[in-house]
Amino acid sequence: MADTQQTGEGVVVADPSPEAVAESAAPTGKTRKIGEGPGRLLVSVYGVFTVAAGSRSIYQLIAQYHRAPLSYILSAASAAVYAFILVTLVRGGASARKLAFFCCAAELAGVLIVGTLTLVIPSAFPDQTVWSYYGLGYVFIPLVLPVTGMLWLRRTPADEQQG
């Protein structure tokens, strides 16, 4: 609007270039935020897993709690971790990055511990959780996801310096 008043030749394109946006952005987030680019794919996958683990644990806790309480509480815990990482990835910022990194590490630890326990003492887990057998029922995505998340969260600060 203000641009068009000053031009004599034609219309100035109103759409700002990525560089212009980067210059005007806050000093901490120069280029890509953690929730954009590959990060948006991570947000989508974490969204799917939040819904999958969340709805699964809600159903199990309500309908069949006494069958395998430990499994279902672990399902609920994993759903909470997924939801928390999802929120931190969407919100972005330096503190969210640290929190998301910490939670991805907790998620990885959870997958490894629960996965090992289901192998060592299967009798304690009469019903499956998302993290049983290192996420076998979910094509091992629960194992790959936190590693991918941590790699992405480590990489983004470097990207920002380049941009």
Partner: protein
């Protein structure tokens, strides 16, 4: 009845995933035609939800329980529209990656739906 429709949705979802996979390889965002494809798959999934409701209303019982059956049907209906929305937010190759993941997730949900519905009901 629902078994055939579920197979159609699964194949369509995999085709969508492969098609958007080509866009990833070409470093392109999803374009109008991809979104039309996602709309077609979404309509198929919606038809599946309607057929599922009709079949359960007519007295068929899902093998693993009606609640789980409908949870998966609703999830299957929402996953591709959700992927389309995210791919519109992300106008890079990563938006195409989201659409590809959406197609694969839908195909996986369809496999589970066949198990949940039970083979005896066709």
């Amino acid at each position: 009845m629902i078994g055939a429709l579920t197979a159609v949705v699964a194949v369509a979802a995999l085709l969508l995933a492969a098609w958007c996979g080509v866009a990833i390889a070409r470093d392109q965002p999803t374009k109008d035609w991809h979104l039309i494809g996602m709309a077609v798959v979404s309509v198929l999934a919606l038809a599946q939800l309607v057929v599922g409701i009709v079949e359960v209303a007519n007295g068929h019982k899902a093998q693993n329980g009606t609640v789980i059956f409908f949870a998966y049907l609703v999830g299957a209906t929402l996953v591709v529209p959700g992927a389309a929305f995210m791919s519109l937010l992300e106008r890079t190759r990563w938006g195409s990656a989201i659409a590809t993941v959406g197609g694969v997730v839908l195909a996986a949900l369809e496999l589970r739906l066949i198990e949940i519905w039970g083979s005896g009901h066709g």
